[in-house]
Symmetry: C2
Subunit: 235 residues, 2 copies
C-alpha cells in the first residue's frame, strides 16, 4: 500500500524549491488537500516556523495546504486526519532525534505502510532507508538510535557526489565513505544524485529522474542504474 | 603537562604519509623510541594489521618503532610502558566506538594529561576535541557516546574545505554544517585546513602550519587565524 516519492534533493540549481519534481507531486498528492509537514531537520538551523512557511509557499503553487507538525497540540492529533506527509531536508541526526523524542517514528511508519502519500527530500529521504548510517550530515545531536523507517529494504545516500578527479584534497570521497559503511554493514546503498528520486507504489520500487543513480552493494564493484529500473530486488 | 600534535591530515597531496609534518614529529617524539599506534579508525576499511604496517614504515624513517594496540594481550599492557601514542585517521565513529568498547578512552586521556607525547591525524585529531560532533565521517557504527577526550577546550573540524563558489551542488557546505552544529551546541570549532595543525604544550595551544585555519564561534561570523596564534583563550 506504500505511495512515496523519495528524492535526493528539494531543489535543483537554477530552479525554485521542489520545482523540478512538481509533476510528480501533483500525481502523488492527487487525492490530498492537507499535507502534514515535518520540519524537524531545520536546514542551516532555521526555525520550525520559518521552514514550514517555505514549504507552505511551494505547496500553495500546486493548491495544497501545509501544516507543520509542531502546530498541533499532540502528535496523535497531527496524524489523526493526515492525508499526506512531507518531511523536508536538513540535518538527519536532528531529524531522527526529534522523530524519536516526539514519538513520531512508529506512527509515521504505520501511516506510510497504510498508504498515506509521502514525500521525502534529502534527510526526509534518508529516514526511509533501514538506517540513517549513510547520511552526509554532521552528528550535531546524539539520537537514541540510527535505525529509521525501513520503508525501503536498503539505504539512501542523498546528494550523491562523484569523486572529483582533479581534486588534491585528502578528505574521503563519498565512495570511500560508503565503502567504509560496507566493511561493517550489509544493506545496499543507493547513491541518489541530485535530480533523481525513488518512486514507491505498493511493492514496486522504481528509480526515476535524471541523472543515473550509483548502486553500492557489499563486496561488489559500484555500478550505474537508469530511470525506470526496478530496485525491488536489491536486498 | 600535555604534549600533542593535532593535525588536519596525515598526508598532503604530492607528498608521502606524514612527510609534511616530519620535523614536528622528530621534536614531539625526541625522547621516545616506542610509539603505541591506535589503528581503530581503519580508513577505507583496511585491517588493523595493514594500517599498522603503514604507520610502521613511516615511523621507521624517523627511527621510531611502532606497535599496534591490537598486538598487546590487554589494553593495560599496551599502555604500561607507553612512551608516545599516535592515533591515525579513518572513520571517527568507528574509532570512538572502539575506544569505548575496548576501554581505551579514559586511559588514553590520562596518559595524554600526564604528558605522554601524542600525535593525532584527522579522526585521531577529532577525538582531542570535546566531542566528535564536528566530524565529516559517515555514522557507520553507533558509538556509546559522542563525547571524546577533551584535550582541547573546543572541537576540531579536520580536512576543512572552503565552499566552492562555482558549485551547483545543493548538498550543505562545510560552513553550513558547522552553523547547524552551533544552533544546538556552544563549543568553538577550529576548521583545520590540510597542512595545518594544533600544537599543545602544557597549557599553550598554538595554531601551526599552513594555510590559515577558519574559526567558528557561536553567534559570531567565522574568521581566519594564522600560524603562531594562541588558541588557549578560545572557549
Amino acid at each position: 500500500m506504500k505511495n512515496c516519492v523519495i528524492a535526493s534533493t528539494s531543489t535543483l540549481h537554477g530552479s525554485t524549491y521542489l520545482e523540478y519534481i512538481e509533476k510528480e507531486l501533483i500525481e502523488l498528492y492527487k487525492n490530498v488537500n492537507e499535507v502534514l509537514f515535518i520540519p524537524y531537520a531545520r536546514p542551516g538551523g532555521i526555525s520550525l516556523a520559518a521552514y514550514t512557511d517555505l514549504a507552505k509557499k511551494a505547496f500553495a503553487k500546486i493548491g495544497k495546504n501545509i501544516t507543520g507538525i509542531h502546530e498541533y497540540d499532540t502528535i496523535e492529533n497531527a496524524f489523526k486526519k493526515t492525508q499526506g506527509v512531507f518531511t523536508g531536508g536538513g540535518n538527519t541526526f536532528l531529524l531522527v532525534d526529534q522523530l524519536y523524542r516526539n514519538k513520531v517514528m512508529d506512527v509515521l511508519r504505520t501511516k506510510i505502510e497504510e498508504g498515506t502519500p509521502y514525500l521525502g527530500t534529502s534527510a526526509g529521504s534518508n529516514i526511509c532507508g533501514l538506517t540513517m548510517q549513510t547520511t552526509n550530515d554532521m552528528p550535531i545531536v546524539y539520537p537514541p538510535s540510527f535505525k529509521t523507517l525501513g520503508i525501503l529494504p536498503f539505504n539512501i545516500n542523498p546528494h550523491y557526489l562523484d569523486p572529483d578527479p582533479t581534486s588534491t584534497h585528502k578528505g574521503e570521497t563519498r565512495e570511500t565513505r560508503i565503502k567504509e559503511f560496507h566493511t561493517i554493514n550489509t544493506p545496499p546503498v543507493i547513491g541518489l544524485r541530485e535530480g533523481s528520486w525513488v518512486r514507491v507504489k505498493d511493492n514496486d520500487i522504481l528509480l526515476q529522474g535524471k541523472p543515473d543513480a550509483r548502486i553500492f552493494e557489499k563486496n561488489k564493484a559500484p555500478y550505474e542504474m537508469s530511470a525506470g529500473t526496478s530496485l525491488s530486488k536489491l536486498y
